[in-house]
Symmetry: C2
């Protein structure tokens, strides 16, 4: 409630051009909240209001904005203003921003940085998009093993303001090899003249620059750490990943998996910020592919057309059988995909997965079959009279037996495909619902007509 009132007040001040009052209100706010407020403010007003923010806060707000707005502001900045904002940013944020900008804007930003920074930025830009290197920052506290606790605090005081994370410090040798880790907690709880090599932890958890950023995020979850050192091929410390960036990766990866499971090409923007054409492009490829691949199910039905017109009651159960197969399969595939991405199962567990799914599917299949038989008898036969009475039991048996087999096959296919996909280097999430469902649609029909052939003599 209070928040709403504050918002209204700010929008009013903007309209009335009362900038000094506005400034004192914004000064007390959090950067993320200001950026959110700015989303509803016109482009023109944003460029004006942005300039009244205190320098440091302005830079923080800048980082939180989406890239369209950032570009707009950069284009409105003088070179001096641009330099001022860029000076306040951490290296990883600078790189992210440059990465999102069109070439001309990126060039202009780079021009405002000194040669050393420019070199560093270009190095960071060169890391692949999904690597640890692409999310790390180069600003961290490095210490030497012969320093005392007091020396360490002096160094933290000296370079701390420019470091994104000061609570985990890294002890390196002359050629920047990582020797150990000292937390500020360790420093605080030891006496001033303690030497770092006595108190540092040399059992170091670290990542390589080219490690998958998803695995890196997983390490934060597993080890409950606030920062992770990243080393290059020669084992030299080149940067750190901080927990806030790891969290962003986790949420992105979860969103990506969810999108892939729903047959959408993953996007990095939020829903409302993605244009109609972009959304269309993300959705149409799988829709087209799945529509065309449904030709198989169509062809299978066509080839049994004559028999189906004879046992017309069977047609009505096609959607139910295919639906149950699809649902059973995607239950298994989705569970297995999530377990794979959280690291709960690996390829070596495939037999345990198969054995488990086999038992689960047997129980599910039999129960569904029995319940369906009762439902068919009570609803479809007695109530709706939708069976040809001459072969009613045979038809009902066909439907229910199909159900049992479809569920078993669906759960096995659904659980095995993602594991195999991962093994051969494909993305398991793509194996999820839609593709598994399409395969299972065809398999369900083949099972259905196969059983019908046995029982009804198709």
């Amino acid at each position: 409630m209070e928040e709403k009132i504050l918002e209204e007040q700010i929008y009013e001040l903007i309209e009335k051009r009362q900038f000094s009052k506005l400034r004192s209100l914004l000064e007390d706010m959090n950067a993320a909240d200001i950026a959110e407020l700015f989303e509803e403010v016109s482009d023109k007003d944003v460029t004006v209001i942005f300039r009244i923010l205190p320098k440091e806060l302005a830079a923080e707000v800048f980082v939180e904005m989406d890239s369209d707005r950032q570009q707009l502001l950069i284009e409105a900045f003088s070179d001096k203003e641009l330099r001022e904002v860029m000076d306040e940013l951490f290296m990883d944020d600078t790189v992210d921003i440059i990465d999102e900008m069109p070439a001309t804007v990126a060039k202009r930003i780079l021009k405002q940085t000194d040669a050393a920074t420019r070199k560093m930025i270009n190095q960071l830009l060169a890391y692949p998009d999904d690597s640890a290197g692409s999310i790390m920052t180069t600003e961290y506290i490095d210490l030497k093993k012969d320093m005392t606790v007091e020396d360490a605090f002096d160094r933290i005081r000296k370079i701390g303001t420019d470091s994104e994370q000061i609570y985990t410090c890294y002890v390196t040798d002359r050629s920047r090899h990582l020797l150990g880790i000292v937390s500020v907690k360790d420093l605080l709880l030891n006496s001033k003249d303690c030497v770092l090599k006595e108190i540092m932890d040399d059992n170091i958890i670290f990542a390589n620059t080219l490690d998958d950023k998803e695995d890196v995020a997983g390490m934060f979850e597993k080890y409950d750490i606030l920062a992770l050192p990243v080393v290059d091929k020669e084992n030299r410390l080149v940067g750190i990943v901080t927990v806030d960036d790891a969290i962003d990766v986790m949420q992105e990866e979860a969103s990506e998996d969810i999108e892939k499971m729903a047959a959408i090409l993953p996007s990095e923007k939020t829903y409302l910020k993605t244009g109609v054409f972009e959304t269309f492009k993300a959705r149409i490829p799988w829709l087209l592919f799945l529509m065309i691949s449904a030709t198989f199910t169509g062809a299978i039905i066509s080839s049994f057309e004559d028999k189906l017109t004879k046992y017309a009651a069977l047609i009505a159960f096609i959607p139910m059988l295919m639906g149950t197969g699809g649902n059973s399969g995607s239950q298994s595939s989705v569970t297995v995909i999530r377990a794979l991405s959280l690291g709960d199962i690996e390829f070596k567990d495939i037999w345990r997965v198969i054995w488990k799914e086999l038992r689960v599917s047997l129980v599910c299949g039999v129960i569904l079959g029995v319940v369906n038989f009762i439902k068919l008898y009570l609803v479809d036969y007695l109530l709706l009279h939708s069976f040809d009475s001459a072969v009613v039991v045979a038809e009902m048996l066909t439907v229910c037996l199909t159900l049992v087999f479809v569920v078993i096959v669906a759960k096995l296919v659904g659980s095995i495909l993602p594991i195999l996909a991962k093994k051969i280097g494909f993305d398991p999430a793509v194996m999820a619902s839609p593709l598994v469902t399409t395969i299972l649609d065809a398999v369900s029909l083949i099972i259905y007509f196969g059983i019908a052939a046995q029982i009804l003599g198709f």
Copy 2:
């Protein structure tokens, strides 16, 4: 590779009962890794090996184990051993463990704690499962506003060992009202005799004990914080949530959403640790519901049976039309659900969502319709001869027009339902794929037969 060798070595040492060598190996390892190793070790061996670990490490390993193993160990512990482990644990971990244990074991644990701790544990246990209170810890650094930086460091040194998070400190008044926040970074970068009220940040981000833990986790993502203070109804500070627990909540919630979207009842255990019967129980309710609800699609088809046997070619396209409808709908519903849970859209955005989905679905529908017409002509008509040639164009038109309308309806239903569900207090994730698909299956058929009636004079 190295990891594998270490593992083998450890298993060998266990087998050979070389405990002193084993101890020196384990001492250098991380608690999370040891707990993972223990998963493959027999129950009997674990109770033996656990006792050779140094006390503090033992407690850390204990926290990382799953609850079955924890229970096993507790039952094997003497009262003294139990007290030793419990003494090393942070309050939030103690509460989590007690929460998972059967009543008799929980009672035994509580017996080993002093009256004050027991009271605190019982208070924490009383918070609802999905609340901020249920994930907070009560061990934090509290400071007073008249303290100097030096006083603050003294207090951190005094109570820091027992605090889960020391880098954000909380300035409170006598009745524990939160006045401000001081980070250790602020303390380090200011001179020793600075008074806290001068440097503390009084623009505090906080949560209430009964806030939804998912919202709390979202605040960590938005504000990039390491800990969040939690206050009670009287605005008194009662605990803090640390970033590692927020990460666990995020991953749990993402898994839960994914499970619900795949028509599975969410579970808290990992895949391989969930028993066959539990997995069955999580999957069968939706399978049964969706199977029974497919009666509607069956009934719709049955009622058009006579006409379908006349235009038999149309039967073959039922799976394709229902499939495309289902896929289109779940693309929209899944995207909207994820956006809702990340806070990217709210109820007030419903018109923007509808307007966007309308345009996207129009483009998708028309393209799918046109491509399908070409495919029908080239493949089904010329190649497979699956059309009754007398009314071939009419039949093809029926299929393609249905496609256009089905995609539009599917995307609108898929995007609107989750938003409405959330508005009236239901879980939007449950509205996803399976339920939306079932509704769309029936709608697709009605559109199909409706258009067929117009064009073919059904």
